[in-house]
């Protein structure tokens, strides 16, 4: 990997830019992080990114901050985690400090409202693009269990609002049992 100084700077500027342009919280920023760190920089593998997302998801606190901490830690240990967390927190800190000074004017501004409304279509496209990539990968591996779990958990979350933590615990347990079962059957044969 590149020399340390460059990695820290790229880590900081990437998390800063992603956080500055991400409206709508964790589920929006994670696909963007995946695009940046997996597809563009090639610093993290896709499977690893999904593992880290699951951990960020099930930890307390803002998902965007958790994911940044995981990515920073993976790349450069505790200092990396610190750099990524600062990069993620600074944009909202700066923006909200400015806004809280004169928030009445901001709220009523028709240009800002129109801009945010236009961005909704763009952000929907970005996330759809990532979903096509990730879902396609699961499908193309042709593992029955993974595909069934993907469909079932989608139904559980989207239609029945099942708690995310419960879902993650159950899926982890099923995954562990599948491995234990596989090892046992391999021993027998």
């Amino acid at each position: 990997m590149k020399e340390n100084k460059n990695v820290y700077w790229t880590l900081f500027s990437s998390t800063f830019m992603l956080s500055a342009f991400t409206f709508g919280g964790g589920y929006v920023i994670i696909p963007l992080m995946k695009k940046k760190f997996v597809d563009k920089l090639g610093w993290i593998e896709e499977d690893e990114m999904l593992n880290m997302t699951a951990i960020a998801q099930s930890s307390p606190g803002p998902i965007a901050v958790n994911a940044a901490i995981m990515i920073g830690y993976k790349l450069r240990g505790i200092i990396g985690a610190f750099v990524a967390a600062i990069g993620t927190v600074l944009p909202p800190l700066i923006i909200l400090t400015v806004i809280s000074q004169f928030y009445q004017e901001f709220k009523g501004n028709q240009y800002i409202g129109a801009m945010l409304k236009g961005m909704q279509g763009g952000i929907a496209a970005v996330i759809t693009d990532v979903v096509i990539g990730l879902g396609g990968n699961i499908v193309s591996k042709r593992k029955l269990l993974s595909n069934v779990m993907m469909i079932l958990s989608f139904v559980a979350v989207f239609f029945f609002d099942i708690n995310v933590i419960i879902l993650i615990l159950v899926a982890g347990l099923i995954g562990a049992l599948a491995v234990i079962y596989r090892i046992k059957t391999e021993r027998r044969t």
Binding site: F21, G24, Y27, K35, I63, I123, M149
Partner: protein, 187 residues
């Protein structure tokens, strides 16, 4: 001391909000409206509106805003720190465990089980965002007049550009934001 109160109120919010975004909202309301009386309910609603219109996690936005209203710039820093410290400690512990044991076959199995769930979670969020963009707050409707045609066009063009040329998502957002600003203001 107000700084300590700010720190610990947001420490609790950071520690107990699991699932991000809207899951944190009731906790924030309890701490800053009910327990500490830092904001009225009306101001809290304004805060949520602002948080939705600006980038960044709702919890961080709230911490900065409330900290600033209660104790100026230092207040916003203290509150934001309080909100992030629990994440930092817990995620670092989990990260250490993950990177040390991830090669064990059982952990591999657990992680393999988690991947499709994460993809499903992101898909579900994608559909909610798509629905908000196409039909607004009321959600899906079969009535064609409820459909925001500009949003559908922006979505289709953006998706095509993304799949074909793979530009930075930030460019897509700036572009659609600019078009939105022009077109919605003309019509």
């Amino acid at each position: 001391m107000v700084y300590l109160e700010l720190f610990f109120s947001f420490f609790k919010i950071g520690l107990f909000s699991i699932g991000g975004g809207y899951a944190a909202m009731p906790l924030i309301q309890e701490q800053i409206v009910v327990i500490q009386n830092w904001l009225t309910m009306k101001e809290f609603t304004d805060l949520i509106t602002i948080a939705e219109m600006t980038p960044g996690p709702i919890a961080i936005n709230s911490a900065t805003f409330v900290g600033n209203q209660v104790a100026g710039f230092t207040g916003s820093i203290v509150a934001t720190l309080g909100c992030v410290v629990p994440s930092f400690i817990i995620v670092l512990i989990l990260a250490r465990i993950y990177f040390r044991y991830k090669d064990l076959s059982v952990i591999q199995g657990v992680l393999e089980g988690l991947r499709p769930v994460v993809v499903a979670l992101i898909s579900s969020a994608a559909i909610s965002i798509l629905s908000l963009a196409f039909w607004g707050e009321e959600g899906f409707s079969l009535n064609l007049s409820d459909l925001n045609v500009l949003a559908v066009i922006l979505f289709a063009i953006s998706l095509f550009v993304l799949r074909k040329w793979k530009p930075s998502p930030i460019l897509i957002m700036l572009g659609t934001g600019l078009i939105g600003m022009i077109v919605y203001n003309i019509s």
